[in-house]
C-alpha cells in the first residue's frame, strides 16, 4: 500500500512540475492582460529546443559534461519559447491582433516547428533519446534522497527543476505582491490606460511579461521531455494536452502563483489516479477507464471557473483587461 501511494505521489509531483511551469509562465503573461492561448505551442517549442540542443551536444561532444547539458538545454529551451512569446507579443501588442486567434495560431505553429524539426532528429525512428542530459536533469538530491527512508523518497527524489518550480512560484508571488514592478505589472493587466497615465511603459511591461512568461512555460515542456519522459523524444508527444492543462491550472489558481504549487500536484494526482487508486483499493484491470479519470482535472477546472463567477469576489477575478489590446490614443 505505502509503496503504491509513494509511487503515485512521485508521479503526481513530476507531472505537476510540468504544468506548474506552464501555468506560472501563463500567470505572468495574463497578469499583463495578455491571454496567450499559445501555451501548448510554446511548451512544444521549449521541449523541442531543449531536447534538440542537449541531444546534439551529447552526440557531438566527446565527453559530454552533464552540467553543460543542463545549461545548454535550459538556455535553448528558454530562448526558443521566449521567441514564440515574442511573435505573439509583436502581433498582439504592437500590431494589436486578436489575442485568442493569435494564440491558437501560435499553438499550430509551435507544434509544427517542434515536430517538423523533431523529424530530423528521429531519422525515421519512432523515438530517440538523450541519456546524459536525462541523467543530469533527473538526478535526485544526493544523500537526502536515500538516507531518510520514505520521507527522503517522497521529498528529495526529484530532479532539480521540480524544486526550481516551487521556488519560482514563491518568487513570482513575492514579485507580484511585494514589489513595485509587480504592482505596476498588475496595474497594466487591470487597467492599462491608468497604468499608462501613471507613467508606466505599458508596451514594455506587456512585452517583458509575455516573453519571459513564455520562456517559463517552455521550461515545462523541456522538463517533460528531459526528465518526466526519461529524455525521450517521440512522435507521440503529449505536450499539447499538457499545455491546455497548464491553461486550466491558471484558472484553477485564480491567478495566485502559490496556489499553482498544490494545484499542480493535485492535477498530477488526478491525472495518474487511474493507475494507482484501483491498486490501492484492490480493483484490477481498469486501464480502459483511464480516460475518464484523466477528465477530472478539466471538470474540476470548470467547477472552479463556475465557482469564481458565482462568488464574484473581486480579488479572484481574471485581470480586468485580459484579452484586450491597448491603444493610448483611443477615443
Amino acid at each position: 500500500m505505502i509503496p503504491n501511494l509513494l509511487a503515485w505521489l512521485l508521479r503526481a509531483i513530476q507531472f505537476g512540475t510540468i504544468i506548474m511551469f506552464g501555468s506560472m509562465g501563463e500567470i505572468l503573461t495574463e497578469k499583463s492582460g495578455n491571454l496567450n492561448l499559445g501555451v501548448p505551442g510554446i511548451m512544444y517549442l521549449g521541449s523541442f529546443a531543449g531536447f534538440a540542443s542537449a541531444y546534439l551536444y551529447e552526440n557531438h561532444a566527446e565527453n559530454p559534461v552533464p552540467f553543460l547539458c543542463v545549461v545548454i538545454a535550459l538556455l535553448c529551451g528558454f530562448l526558443a519559447s521566449a521567441l514564440g512569446g515574442l511573435i505573439y507579443s509583436f502581433l498582439t501588442i504592437t500590431l494589436r491582433a486578436n489575442q485568442n486567434v493569435t494564440g491558437l495560431a501560435l499553438t499550430t505553429f509551435g507544434m509544427g516547428v517542434a515536430n517538423f524539426f523533431g523529424g530530423y532528429l528521429l531519422k525515421g525512428e519512432v523515438y530517440t533519446a538523450a541519456p546524459v542530459s536525462n541523467a543530469a536533469f533527473s538526478a535526485k538530491i544526493p544523500f537526502l534522497s536515500d538516507h531518510l527512508g520514505l520521507f527522503g523518497d517522497a521529498v528529495f527524489s526529484y530532479g532539480f527543476l521540480a524544486y526550481t518550480a516551487i521556488l519560482l512560484a514563491i518568487l513570482l508571488h513575492v514579485f507580484l505582491n511585494k514589489t513595485r514592478t509587480g504592482l505596476n505589472l498588475r496595474a497594466v493587466g487591470e487597467n492599462p490606460a491608468t497604468a499608462d497615465a501613471a507613467g508606466i511603459n505599458v508596451t514594455k511591461y506587456k512585452y517583458l511579461a509575455t516573453v519571459i512568461g513564455a520562456g517559463i512555460s517552455g521550461i515545462g515542456g523541456l522538463y517533460y521531455v528531459l526528465d518526466y519522459n526519461n529524455g525521450i523524444w517521440a512522435t507521440t508527444g503529449q505536450v499539447e494536452a499538457l499545455g491546455w492543462l497548464a491553461v486550466a491550472l491558471v484558472i484553477f489558481t485564480t491567478w495566485y502563483p502559490l496556489n499553482a504549487i498544490w494545484g499542480a500536484y493535485l492535477f498530477g494526482m488526478l491525472y495518474w489516479l487511474y493507475n494507482f487508486l484501483p491498486k490501492l483499493i484492490g480493483i484490477t484491470n481498469i486501464d480502459r477507464t483511464s480516460s475518464l479519470w484523466q477528465m477530472i482535472p478539466y471538470i474540476v477546472t470548470i467547477l472552479v471557473l463556475v465557482g469564481v463567477s458565482l462568488r464574484r469576489k473581486r480579488e479572484s477575478q481574471p485581470p480586468a483587461s485580459l484579452g484586450l489590446a491597448y491603444f493610448r490614443e483611443e477615443r
Binding site: L35, L37, I87, F90, L91, T94, L95, R96, A97, N98, N100, V101, T102, L104, A105, L106, T107, T108, F109, M111, G112, V113, N115, F116, G119, N201, T203, K204, A241, W244, L245, V247, A248, I251, R288, T289, S290, S291, L292, Q294, M295, Y298, I299, T301, I302, L305, V306, S309, L310, P318, G323, F327, E329, E330, R331
Partner: protein
Amino acid sequence: MNKAIEVGKSEHREPFLRIARRDGTSHGRKIGVRAASIVIALILDALFIVVVTGLNPLAVYAEIFKATFGTSLRFMWMLRDMAALLCIGVALAPAFKMRFWNIGAEGQVLMGGFATAMCMMFLGQKLPTPVLFLVMVIASLAAGALWSFFPAFFKANWNTNETLFTLMMNYVAIQIVAYATNILRGQASSLGTINMGSKIGWFPKLLGYDFTLNILIVAVLTVAMYIYLKYTKHGYEISVVGESEKTAKYAGIDVKRVTIRTLLLSGAICGLCGFIIVAGNKHTISTNTAGGDGFTAIIVAWLAKFNTFYMALISFLLVFLEKGAGQIASTYGLNEYIADIISGIILFCILGSEFFLNYRMIFRHKEEKGGGVK
C-alpha cells in the same frame, strides 16, 4: 513604438514613428492589404523552404498547386476537406458575432461525430436507412448543442468566462471519446471503419463521388447562415447583443435567451459537422476526428469577420496549403508537419495585416505609410 519615443526624447523632436487610428478603410485598401499580407507570407514560406530544405521554392509551389488542381479527384478532396473546415466556421459565425468566444468547436464536432458513430454501430442494423439518417442527424445536432449549452448557460446567468469554459469542454469530449473507443475496440488497436461491408449509415455516392453530399450540405449552410445573420430578426438580435448587452436589454431583448439560443445553434451545427465528417468521410470515430479543425475554424471565422462567404475563401486558402504541404512532404520526403509551419506563417501575416487596416503609421516629417505591410 516605444523605442521610437525614446529616440525622440533626447532632443525635443517628434518621435520617429507614431500610430494613429484610421477612420474607415476603403474597399480597395482592404483587398490590397490582405493580398499583400498573403504575398509576404508566401515569400516568408518560400524562404523557410529554401533555408531548411534547399529546394527550389518555385518547384515547391508548383507541387503545392498540383496537390489541389492536379486532378479532378484531388480537387474534390480539397473541396471535401474545405467543407469540413468551412462548416465549423459557419457554425461559429453566430457565436462570434455575438462576441461569445466559442473555443469549444473541437469538442462539439467530436461529440456530434461520436453520436453519429454510435447510431451507425448500434442502430445500423435495426432501422431502415431514411429513419437511421434522421436519427443520426438529430443525435449529432443534440450532442453538439449539449456541449455548447453548458458554457452558454453559465455565461448567460453568471457571466462565466466562456473562452476558458469551452476550451475545457474540448478535453472532456476528447476523454469521453477516448474512453468509449477504448471500451468498444476490445483487443484491436483502433476502432476501424464502421459498417465497412454494408456501408450502412454512409453517405450515398452522388455525381460520382462519395462525399458530394458533404459539399452540398455545407454550401447550403453557408448561404443559409449568411441570410440568417443578415436578414432575420434573430440575426439582428445577435448583432445587438454582440455590440452591447446593455443596449440589448434596453431594447427589450432577452439576452439570456438569445445567448443560449445562439449557442445551441452554434453547437448544433458543429455537431452536424461531426455527422458530415463521420458519415460522409471517415466512417469511424477517434479523438482525432475533428483533427484540429475546430481550432483552425476559429481563426477562419475571426479573419472573415463573420461573413460566411469570406470564410469559404479563407478555408480554401488554408486547405489548399495543407494539401500542398502534404504533397511536398511526400514528394520530397519531408515530414507532414511542414503544413502547420506554412499555415502558421500565413496566419501570422494575415493577423498582423489587420493593423494596417485599423491604424496608420506616421513617420517623422508627416510621411504617411501607404498600403505596404510590415
